[in-house]
Symmetry: C2
Subunit: 348 residues, 2 copies
DNA sequence: TTGTAGGCGTTATCAA
DNA sequence: TTGATAACGCCTACAA
């Protein structure tokens, strides 16, 4: 049992075996299988049958080496240990995987915390080792070394989001600023004046975007900015919970709290409930992302929805176009997120 | 811009380039870089420096071909389109990725709905094309063609869960039966007699396991089985919601509802809230999995926690042992899940 | 329509 | 301690 698998690789039939069995050259077998037109219908038929029968499948490594192409795209989850279960990622990966499938590409996934040595290594290995044909970037940072790295290596990539210092690379952005502004307007219409914001880490572009929507919203409503209503979060439920505890303990607590993402807002709900605060009635809470969970909280969570799954698919499509040297219609795309008002920001 | 990337692959330095620059043979360069002992310290030093300087990294495809090893493990998310955002998967993948990293393995991910042609194709391509050295299986089915397929191909794999017809392959199981039994006991102690169960699709082993825990629990409490209290779910929040609506509309509705997983139970919470039922007080609700979300529902959800992240890591460790032909300590491991009692099953 | 042969970039065997 | 050379399995000019 122990050495059960030892020599599995030695035993697979190669194109030579198929050729030999048929008394054909490997050329013909190769061409027959790849659907070239200059092979007799009868021959092709026989080749396909025999290959099938022998259980022959091309060795991908050999093909990759020869074609100088891996038919693989890479994605490194920018996540910290020990673990991280933001539903954003499973949805994003499902989108990447589905779209890659449709183009017969594989998806290589790794995990690395942002801005660590490990992360640099991971990207280097893939790029310089030609492990993948292109890379998808997400959770962009305000100054993102990855963009420069990809460019220096002239390596195909697309990104979900931009950096603050550059946006002239193929990416899809979601207009976080405008999204939060809409939300602010909604809150102001509901009569709120003391509106708090729980941030994401500053390194992320999404923080800059969403926070500027907050500031703009305040300005438009002529509400002076009050720093005590801005608290740091970390995009997790627990971060939101802790921040909310601080905010709600203030002498003059906010009547509305915006989380930088849904997870943060959900942490706020937990804190509010613990403090027996009636969300909706006495405290408005809203998030950003539109994850499924936001539609099953109590009360249902007002949020700004971005189409993560579809973005992932589009990013892959753009990337594969780049890889193939085909034109992509636009350099980048800016999507408008959708404000979804639910009970958590409505009174009574 | 358009053809920007075209020839990127042609331009990377190869081991030949490094050798030429140093007037050494490729053999020496290769051995120096791989840390063989039979190369002069001075030579090695120079080789490493030059390689670094020229930005040389071995082409992985060539290495794979030569070594007959990809240093890659595969995982196919058994998920249905258009999308699926069970947090189980991001946690599982994070575990797979982290552990693979530590062994310098890559993780190849794909997406395929269970028991579809696409799924068979995906596995075949990877196995027969030696795309990966081993495969991780999850969401096992009661009769799982994948197990037989892997065996026929003598391909290394480990699985999260077993099948009903075989468990003599390397896997980690979580004792769902015992978990649910504990939960049942807890519910009975709370005075419940009309306890309902919302199932997972029958094809999954986890359904058989958890449901048998339910039946056992009833038997132990001498509660006769009443089929009207068993309703089909699909492991999603919406499935749980729909099933709960039916259950709670019964002339003699249950006083406790168990979801086959946490997502299902969360759907029940949503339904209960819509019907203004006070969960905890008037209705007990519990799930299975122990996802983060269960700790942020309202009320907090009683659940049976399984260590998904750790299981994923362990599965990878076992798999890599198999790949290396090393002994694995046990053929399979059965873990006991942990009952976590929270407010959703406690009165007052 | 089919076959010959060279090479993709490594690693590994063997000899120097 | 180093080097020449032969694979690994596939694709593709080019020739037949």
């Amino acid at each position: 049992m122990l050495h059960y698998f030892q020599n599995v690789l030695e035993k697979m039939p190669t194109i030579h075996d198929v050729a030999k069995r048929l008394n054909l050259s490997i050329t013909t077998v190769s061409r027959a299988l790849d659907g070239y037109s200059d092979v007799a219908a009868e021959t092709r038929q026989k080749v396909i049958e025999t290959a099938q029968e022998m259980g022959y499948t091309p060795t991908l490594a050999a093909r990759q080496l020869r074609r100088k192409r891996t038919e693989t795209i890479g994605y490194i989850m920018p996540t910290s240990k020990p673990r991280f279960s933001d539903p954003f990622f499973s949805e994003f990966i499902a989108g990447l995987g589905d779209e890659a499938n449709e183009h017969s590409f594989d998806l290589l996934v790794s995990v690395a915390a942002p801005n660590q040595d490990m992360e640099v290594n991971a990207y280097q290995r893939w790029v310089q080792g030609r492990r993948v044909d292109g890379i998808i970037l997400s959770r962009m940072r305000t100054q993102d070394w990855r963009v420069q790295f990809m460019r220096e290596n002239r390596f195909p990539f697309t990104a979900f989001g931009r950096t603050l210092i550059a946006d002239d690379f193929p990416h899809i952005g979601v207009d976080g600023k405008s999204g939060v502004q809409q939300l602010m307007q909604h809150l102001v219409e509901q009569g709120h004046r003391r509106i708090a914001f729980i941030t994401a880490p500053e390194e992320f572009t999404l923080q800059a975007d969403r926070f500027s929507g907050y500031l703009n919203g305040l300005a438009q409503a002529e509400i002076p900015y009050d720093p005590q209503y801005t608290i740091s979060g970390d995009l997790t439920r627990d971060g939101g919970y802790r921040a909310a505890k601080i905010l709600l303990g203030l002498p003059n607590p906010p009547t509305a709290i915006i989380g930088a993402n849904d997870l943060t807002a959900i942490g706020v709900l937990t804190a509010a409930h613990e403090l027996k605060i009636n969300v909706g009635q006495d405290l408005a809470v809203a998030g950003f992302d539109g994850i499924d969970e936001s539609n099953h909280t109590q009360p249902l969570l007002t949020t700004i929805k971005q189409p993560v799954y579809e973005c992932a698919r589009l990013l892959v499509r753009m990337l594969i176009n780049l890889i193939n040297g085909e034109p992509i219609s636009e350099q980048y795309i800016l999507l408008q997120p959708e404000l979804i008002v639910r009970a958590s920001t409505l009174r009574g």
